[in-house]
Every structure is written in C-alpha cells, then in structure tokens.
Symmetry: none
C-alpha cells in the first residue's frame, strides 16, 4: 500500500512555520508498516489544493491531510475533497452540538462561522476531536482512502493515536505490531551514556535502540517489532533489563514520566510534604510540580524570593549572610531551604538561587551559576551547578536539576528508613 | 513567476528528520517576491523522483531541490534531471580539483566515489560549495529554471545566500520586496475576530491578511509586497491602522512581543513593582514574568499559596473568608492580591485562585473556574474566568489572562495619571 501526506496552509508555503506534522505522520505510518512515498504542501487555494489531492489519489492508495478544518474562510480542505469526489456537504448534527457544547462550557457565544466545522461530505466517517473544535474526516472511495486531520499538532497527534491507528489496523489488517518504550535518564551526557551502551547500539536490529536528547534529558528509545504485542514487549523487556544494569540510577522514569511526575510520586508515596524558596528559577520548579494532578496533596506552597528584601523579610535570611556570602551562595541556598521548610511547616524544603543572566554576573559569579539546596529530617544537601545557555534555558536546566535532586534525596531518605 | 520546492531524501519520508530546508527556502524566496505555491518531498527513487520533478516543471517556472548531491549511489538528483532534460553528464574538471583539494587539505585520500559529485549535466551553471564537497547546479531550459542545492542546511543556506539570491535578481530582475508584520491579540476568539475584520480578509491582495491561532493568542499577520521596503512598510502601516481602529485593545503587541514582555515593559516604564499570590497557576505567572531579562527590577517576589494553611498563615487570608466564600472565590482572590501587595510592599498585587482539575471541582465550582484579582493604588479589579481543557492548558490560559489583565490595569493606571 502506498501512502501520501498532504500538508495544507499558506503559513507553510510562506515558510513561517516548520512542517512538524509531516514528520510526525511519516514516522508513525512507517512504524505501522505503511510506505509513505510522497509528501506535498499546498496553500489554501481551492484549485491548487484540488489538483494536489487529485494527483495524490492517482498515485497513492492512502492520502492523509492536515490543516484547513478550522472555522475561517481559508479553511477549505473538506469542501475541496467533497467536490473532487462529487459528494454533497451536510450539517453533521452530533458535531454541531459538540462544538456548541465547547463554546457553552466556556460561556462563549458560538459565532455562526464555527458551524463550518460541522459541515461534512456525505458518507464520511466523522472523528470526534477531544482537543479542539474541528472533527476529523475519513472518506473511503472504492480502494482509496482519504483522511483529513486538523492542523494544530496536539489535536492532530491525539486524533491519530486514538482513532486513526485503530482504523488503519481494521481497514488494512496491519499485522506486525511495533512497540516502543523510552527509558528517561538525567545527569549523564549523551556521549558518556553512549560509551556505556555502545555494544547494544551497534548490535541492534530488533529491538532497535536510539539515544535522543530531549530538553535536558537523554532518552533511550527501545523499539521492537513482533507478530503480537506480547512478543514485541518481551523483546523490549530483555534489552531494558540489560540497559538498566548498565546505566543504573540515571534512569529515573519511562515513556511519559516527567521529572515532576516521578518526584511527585516519590513525595506522595512517602507521605512527605514540600515547600520551595525559588530565586533564579522564578517559580518554575513549583509550576512544574503543580502540573501534576493531585500535587496539592504534597506541595504546600512556595516563595519566589526574587529580591533580597523578600529573602530577608519574608524568608528571614540574615543580612549578615547576604552581605558576607552573597545572595548566590551555598549558605543562602541552604538557609532559603531551611527557612521555607520551617515557615511552611513541611517535611522537605528546597532553596534555589543563581544567576540566570544576561545581567547580574560578577568576577567570581558567572551567568549560569546556580546553587540548589534540599533540606529534610535526615539532613541537608546542596549542589553547585554551572549551566550554560540563555536565560530561559538556564531556568529550565536548574528546574530539571532541582526536581532530580529532590527525587534522589527522597529515595535515599526512604532507603535510610528501611535500614 | 511560480516556484516549487522539492526536498529529496528517504530520511524525510521515514520521518527521521524535520524538513527545515523547505521552510528556509520558502521564507527566503517569499521575501524576494517569489511565490512558492508547492512543496514536495520524494525519496531517492529514480522513477518517482523523475515523476515529481517533471510534474513540478509542468506547473512551475522555477524548481529548487535540496539533497541528493552526495557521493553515494543514493544521490541521484542531478542524474534524474539530466535524463529528464536529455542532457549528458560530464566530469566538471574545476569541481573535481576543488573536491580533491578539500580531501588533500584534510590529509585524506579521496574515495573515487566522490568523483560523482563532480559529474554535471551539460550546459549547467556550476556553483562552488565553500561549506562542503557537493557543488550546486543551475539548469536553464527555455523559460524554466531548475536549481539543485545540497541537503545539509548550512551548506544549502550558505549557497542560497551567496550565489542563488544574486542569480535570482539577475535572471528574474527581482524588484519587489516582501515585508510582514504580526499584530498579537488576546481575549477574542478566532472566529469573533474574523467577524470583526471579515471585509479586510476578503478584500486582501496586497497587503494580505491572515489569522493565526498561537498558544492562546490570535495573531493577525499582514504581509505586503513593494518595489522598496519603504513602500511595503507603508502598505502595512495603512492596514495596521485600520485593523487597530477595529480590534482596538485586544492588540497587545507586535511580532515577537510576548504577554510577559509587554507586561514587564509596562511595569518598568511606569516604575511600578509587582508581587503575586498564585494558587492554581502554581507559580507559572511569576515564572513567565521572570523569563524576561531585567525582570528583577519590577518583580519583587511571589507566594505560591497552594494550601489554605499558607493562604491563612503566610498571606493572612482570614479563616472566615475561606470558609464562607471558599478558597476559589472573588473575595479570596482579592484578599490574596491585597495581602501579597502589602507584605511584599509593592505597587501592584495579583491574586490568582481557581480549580485546575482534574479533581477539586464542586457542584457550584467546576474545573476551569479561575478568579484573577489585580490591586493597585487606584483600586481593585477582579475577573472571573471559566477555562476549558486539561490541567496544564488551564494553567496556561489562566497565566495568559493574568498577564493581560495586569497589562491593561497598568495602562488605565497610566492614563488615569495623565488626567
């Protein structure tokens, strides 16, 4: 079976955005064993879009489009295909009420133009969109299949995973199953990690093993093929075990388990509460912890002590220390952690202070210098970091390091208790 | 003149890499006034590549390809075009010696296979490559032009800037310049915004006008062509003025100006300091404000009062109010703002409290309910919101709304003073 991906949208033709949708779909469809032999991009122009889609239907059995399902006059994908296939458009009542509900739930009046999103070609299979207002569309024309997905990546990806993959399996009777699992590591460089597991990387065939750098983490992606899911999963398990014995504690989570998720789980499993005093990270660590549902069980609160005034007056860091050691110092980080733990009456206190830049550096304290202190019943731990990069990058790296440090701190705490 | 970009390479069809070359070329060519109406991607397969290039030459005057100029057997772009145009291939001596020099300079022996990179279609214009071994190729066939550029982005970009742009200007006598400007709006839905400015959207030719949804904002992109940059800018200014008089205060910034940037500018221009008490946003608003260099000038600090205990004991929100009105209420939001402003001794205090979900909803207080209060010398303003979506989405929308509310609050403050 031959497949083609068509990306629509003038912003792509103008080069204003990079086409990540085409890459995502190509990758996923190849993993399913579907050969993507063509990718095309066309703007919101009816005749040119019609020409591109018609040409695709000539040379391919399966055509997947993204974009052009929105409420505006520039959103024409469904109309173009309907005309090509000589199908009338009709108002799909269930979609209409879904869209009306979305606006109602936002206490907004639905502009009539949004009804365009509920207009569908006859005999289309409609896919609900839980991430937005635009439904997806599947059209079967004899042995050809054309699928319209929304343009916003997270809507498109959600729809592909939940509705299109199952549809593909059923319509094309896809046999071989591909399963992949990601082992997320932190605190080890990509090259150091590769050294440790080089033989596995070289020996790979099924499962395959890939190292991916992802926002400060290095991910080990294991991908296995099998006749059944069980077979593929078994293959993964074997390699995972071998990798864990090599890499050890640098692996903190799998798949979608973020640093904030695993740290949060550690806190709640150990019935520990936490409070943070953040300076250079400006509340980012706390914000990431609160991205996790139920975090209110363990996160009591935080103080963003951005100015020394707040460090002194609200936190109670002594003027002495601020002048002798400076706001960016091990002493201040530890005191911030101790004070916030005491004031907020939590089991664990965290202090983060540093220089995010571009200003604020001194001869002895460069941009990227960050101290992270964690304080608990079992003691104090302070780590000095020197991060590189831009302001927001330094904030991100510092937040990663803080979350990882808390995670490991609790782990040791738990293991201490077991002794 | 109509142009088409063709990206070659199986790694693109497999989704192993994102196609940044197509975006780069589309952007640059549009800026030169060349209309890119099609983008295509095809693998290293002779017949399919021939079909794609032939089809492109039918519908376009100018075809630019990237990739397939390397030394391996999979690099076939030049050969495919030569066959299409019935041109023989010959060994281009200057390119051969250039390539030999490159290897010599690296004290490496040149594999014979690299000679393929010096094989050229007859009557081709050869472009030296100062960034790699693969020369670029320009083929003129009556009124059609086909250009082959190397795949590695920095080789391709260097070649485009230094050789292709001058070639375009000379061959196509390019006069026109394209300038575009983005007006960023907040607080109006895409469809509602389009209703307001429909006539401009329909009437568009030069400048053109596009609506783009971008992480909770709607952007109005104006793109104008002109003989000179001044002329294009003038065209933009005229439409911008008209749009501003229609859309008004929903427009908060232009181009790269984020909500946190503009809000921060408002604070520093008015010499105002700010402190925040965040509940459901968990420090996200403060973190975004601190993404801006120099924010320590106006951001004194914040309190993430995630638990009622902190709201009571650190902020001083009375038990009375928490029990009578609840933690998620207008009264609590206002008190949070007032108290943090007082304790942190700032000009402006902000209080954000709500239900990010998925838990915590009650019969009267659904997930997504958020109160945002801003307090300053000139008074108090509290807005009730009902956001939809997932937990992190609700946090993001609440943070956007808070930043926007502070921005407008200061604006009114400033205008009050002027009276």
């Amino acid at each position: 079976m031959i497949a083609e991906i068509i990306s629509t949208g003038t912003e792509l033709l103008l080069g204003q955005i990079v086409n990540t949708n085409a890459q995502y779909l190509a990758k996923k469809m190849n993993e399913l064993g579907i050969d993507v032999l063509h990718q095309s991009t066309v703007g919101d122009n009816p005749s040119r879009m019609a020409e591109v889609i018609a040409h695709a239907l000539e040379r391919s059995d399966l055509v997947v489009t993204t974009g052009g399902l929105g409420p505006t006059l520039g959103d024409i994908t469904k109309e173009v295909t309907a005309r090509l296939l000589n199908r009338a458009m009709y108002l799909h009542k269930p979609s209409e009420s879904r869209i009306r509900q979305i606006f109602a739930s936002r206490n907004m009046l639905m502009p009539e133009s949004n009804l365009r999103q509920a207009m569908m070609p006859e005999a289309a299979i409609i896919i609900d969109n839980d991430r937005g207002t635009a439904p997806g569309v599947i059209l079967e024309e004899s042995d050809k299949t054309i699928i319209h997905l929304p343009g916003p990546p997270q809507e498109m990806q959600w729809m592909f995973e939940t509705a299109i993959v199952p549809y593909f399996r059923q319509r094309f009777g896809l046999q071989s199953v591909i399963v992949s699992r990601v082992l997320r590591t932190f605190g080890v460089s990509e090259s150091a990690l590769e050294e440790k597991i080089k033989d596995f990387v070289l020996a790979q065939s099924n499962p395959t093993l890939a190292l991916l750098a992802r926002s400060g983490e290095i991910h080990l992606r294991i991908t296995a093929k099998g006749q059944t899911e069980a077979e593929a999963t078994e293959r993964i398990a074997t390699l995972e075990q071998a990798l864990r014995s090599r890499v050890g504690k640098a692996i903190f989570g799998i798949d979608d388990e973020t640093l904030e998720l695993v740290t949060g789980r550690q806190l709640s499993e150990n019935n520990l509460t936490i409070a943070l005093a953040e300076s250079c990270t400006g509340g980012l660590v706390t914000s990431r912890l609160t991205d996790i549902p139920g975090s209110s069980r363990y996160l009591i609160g935080s103080l963003v002590s951005y100015s020394n005034q707040i460090k002194r007056e609200i936190l109670g860091v002594s003027e002495q220390i601020l002048t002798d050691c400076g706001a960016v110092s091990e002493e201040t980080a530890i005191l911030m952690a101790k004070q916030v733990r005491e004031r907020f009456m939590t089991d664990i206190g965290v202090g983060v202070t540093g220089i995010a830049g571009p200003d604020g550096a001194t001869a002895t304290k460069p941009v990227g210098l960050v101290y992270i202190a964690v304080v608990g019943a079992q003691g104090v731990e302070c780590v000095k970091h020197q991060f590189s990069g831009q302001r927001t990058g330094i904030k991100q790296r510092a937040a990663n390091a803080a979350l990882f440090q808390v995670m490991r701190f609790i782990e040791n705490y738990a293991s201490d208790r077991e002794k």
